[in-house]
Amino acid sequence: MTDPALTPELVRQHNLTPEEYEAILKILGREPTYTELGIFSVMWSEHCSYKNTRPLLKTFPTRSRRVLVGAGEENAGIVDIGDGLAIAFKMESHNHPSAVEPFQGAATGVGGIVRDIFTMGARPVCALDSLRFGELSNPEVRRLFGGVVAGIAHYGNCFGIPTLAGEVYFDKSYEGNPLVNVFCLGVLRHDQIARGAARGVGNPVFYVGPATGRDGLAGAAFASQDLTEESADQQRGAVQVGDPFMEKLVCEACLELLATGAVAGIQDMGAAGLTCSTCETAARAGTGIEIELDRVPQRAPHMSSYEIMLSESQERMLIIVQQGREAEVKRIFDKWDLPWSEVGRVTDTGLMVVTHHGRTVASIPAKLIASESPVYHREARQPDYLQAVRAFTLAGLPDTADPVAALNTLLAWPTIASKNWVYRQYDHMVRNNTVVCPGSDAAVIRIKADSIPPAPEGRAAQSPAFTGEKLIALTSECNGAYVYLDPYEGGKIAVTEAARNLACAGATPLGVTDNLNFGNPHNPELFWQLQESVRGIGDACRALGAPITGGNCSLYNQSPNGPIDPTPTVAMVGLIEKPEHITTQWFKEAGDAILLLGQPVDMADPLQGLGGSAYLQVVHGRKTGLPPRCDLDTGRVLHEALRSLIFGGGIKSAHDCSEGGLAVCLAESCISQTLARNTPRRIGAHIDLSGIAGARLDALLFGETQHRIVITTSRLTAARTLAQAAILGVPAISLGTVGGDALVIQTAAGQWSWPVAGLHDSWWHSLARLMQPANA
């Protein structure tokens, strides 16, 4: 097979600019081969090089005294959780593959992020998924949503990782370009951190896992273009299919192998497969690497060197083994019946050399691919649409006349409705560690001895085995509408709400991983959204003491219908010190006092928290107005106060106000506890808001003023709790009492009542009904 001639057209098809091509000539001192052109094109795609985002990512706070491996150093960041233990976590997107083939696209997304985690030497212990789709009235959206959820379920369940938290938003802007962000968290001991580096000249390089096929050719490049009919069609020919069964075996075998100490470096073959893994491991170690493609197991006949290097076949790993210890690799991989092959060696040349059929098809200075990769400071311009957003006022917007209907509608709105249709398809309890299941503000998982990979041989005797338990809380957040309406505030709110959810669970933040889902960075207005939200996220992470330990950028999220709402998804992980601190969102017992921490309505906001709100979208059909203001100090003080109260004992439930405002928060507190299948535990509440003056009724009930948390205590401790909140610097008022069969809200404007059975029905079954219009 002859390689095509290098023409400017071919260079363009590889998404390389003439300037980038010049840079390649300079690095090589000659024309690239066809395979080299392919290698540069994927390595310099946005997906692998972050060429448009690197300058922005540099502004993130990435360190704390707990961060052991920081953002960008390795495949995932690592954070200390005490007692010699650490967690590795990261989020990754699989948006475009999921648009093309929802089930496999989402499934392989899970596979990819799980590999990123065990590559670090950590045992994957839980996953989380953050999803965005168009509106469910569209059958194509239902197909995508159903397929994505089934794909995540298939991969995660079979692998045996609990998917225990996440979020799903539905908005027209995601039609045709769904977002599928998946997160994985793993556990390891400090002395178990593995490196993705090709260390030790002369060390053999092993390929383990299934054979390479033509699947996902140049998937990284595909992710770095707008989603068009044409680009999708190209990708359809080569859809990646995930094999979670294989991944489970590869994971167990790798962890077992790492424990032997025979591994000098390990790297998964994710985006850009063999190319990226060889290049990066050599660049990290400052060595060279030589691989012989004839030794790479191949699934399809007659694959070219270009295809083998660019394939994204799943579940493959590259392992650099200490010379002389090859037998251990063979023994362990044979035990697990896994294919392996010795494909090359570490060298001291600094070159990544690829040979095929006796010919050298690529020879590139590994370090330079990374260090000389282009960086662009894109033009940013404030979008025109913001004028109208800022001009929006409540004048002419009649106050609510029917709060009863409005609350029921909001609870049934798919974005707010219970996501049980999703998470009941995920095995969220496998591994026997799930303490708080999906359905509360944050999920809680315990870490115990069997969460940790096998101990390195010989080391076990030195450091005593961990026999205790640790508790980790997780949540993910991002309200894309807010970010669209004000990217800076929206970015801040995503982080702050995540931190607030953790506080509600009784947890203190450890770190953040983010996934920046945006449109085409060449569009200055879209780049401005990116730049502003990065600034917001960075500021919030600094203020709340949650460093960013890693993440992922997914640009070019636009279909022919236009760009998505900018969606910088934030996943935050926190530590819960004691089991007694674990707090859930639902009301516990009749007679308990309901209190509000925070300002009922932000009266300094001219929109009283209604800008960008779910209420405005659902009831008035408008996605506009500046979102609620997010003062980071107020947030920090509130979270710390809530934690102090929880640590002091006596807080029986805590739920924050987010989409749908106070009324939705109260309703959820009444109806969100589930004891078992078809066995909700519902309990009513009597709320008196008549003392709150000045605000509009819709703003009081459904406004989304930030920094508010509804808590309950026993009646006897309520007064003391209010006094303590005041000392801790947080406004707090009494809202009412738990009990009865209805949520009753009394305001200055009147009294309304909702039987909890009806609220529950609207909220719990909404997604199932929308997904089955035929049976509705």
Binding site: A150, A153, N157, C158, F159, G160, D243, P244, F245, M246, K248, L249, W336, D337, Y423, R424, Q425, Y426, D427, H428, M429, V430, R431, N432, N433, T434, V435, C437, R446, K448, D450, E469, P579, T674, L675, A676, R677, N678, T679
Partner: protein, 225 residues
């Protein structure tokens, strides 16, 4: 009491079973699917997971593993064998239990807590369950719909082999209480000799207050003399 917990490629509740047994104060060891002996085991648990990816049919490939020959002998000698979830599927495929488990009627995987009624306390898997006590235990499966033909069902009933049924919080057998559409709400059964049992729910995930239920202990403790 010493338990053997089988480990197939892609078993993923094997560690959970080991942990649960240790929580109960007993010992457990993993036995690799290629092993031909169960060692010093006094009881066997075939754990949940997706052995061999559940490819072809759940449990179809695992059933042919060398270790299953050992389990067969162990059962033939009267040893206690409990199959949980995928383990139940494997035991049915292996013919150690009658019937089969097919796709959930919803066609979707279901993970949630369910209520179980113990249909008979006359078995080494149910004998310690307090009378008239419903169990609250998680399920997590895509293919847990129990099927057996009419003569087999009649035999199961006649010989009191149905051990657990899905029920409502009030203990009523209702269709909607079942996560999978099993015939007669069957969640678990035993063989005629009453030393081999299988169930779809996960008792090993319900042995500690921290994870939300301790009802699974009744089942595992029943196995301990």
């Amino acid at each position: 009491m010493h338990f053997a917990i089988l480990q197939f490629p892609a078993s993923n509740c094997d560690q959970d079973a080991v942990h649960a047994i240790r929580v109960l104060g007993h010992s457990a060891e993993l036995v690799w699917h290629k092993d031909t002996s169960l060692g010093a085991a006094e009881a066997v648990i075939v754990p949940g997971g997706f052995s061999y990816g559940d490819y072809l049919r759940t449990g179809a490939i695992a059933r042919f593993s060398p270790v299953m020959q050992a389990v067969r002998r162990f059962a033939a000698e009267g040893g206690l064998v409990l199959g949980i979830c995928n383990g139940f599927q494997i035991l049915c495929e292996a013919g150690l239990l009658p019937g089969a488990l097919i796709r959930n009627r919803s066609l979707q995987f279901r993970c949630e807590h369910v209520h179980l009624k113990t249909a008979t306390r006359d078995s080494p898997f149910t004998r310690r369950i307090p009378p008239d006590t419903l169990l609250r235990i998680p399920v997590a499966h895509g293919e847990g719909c129990y099927y057996a033909d009419a003569p087999t069902l009649a035999r199961l009933r006649a010989q009191d082999q149905i051990l657990w049924q899905y029920c409502t919080a009030d203990g009523v057998l209702e269709d909607y209480a079942s996560p999978n559409g099993s015939v007669e709400g069957i969640a678990g059964i035993c063989n005629e000799r009453r030393n081999v049992a299988g169930l779809m729910p996960h008792p090993e995930r319900a042995c500690e207050p921290l994870v939300g239920s301790t009802d699974g202990r009744w089942i595992l403790e029943s196995m301990i003399p």
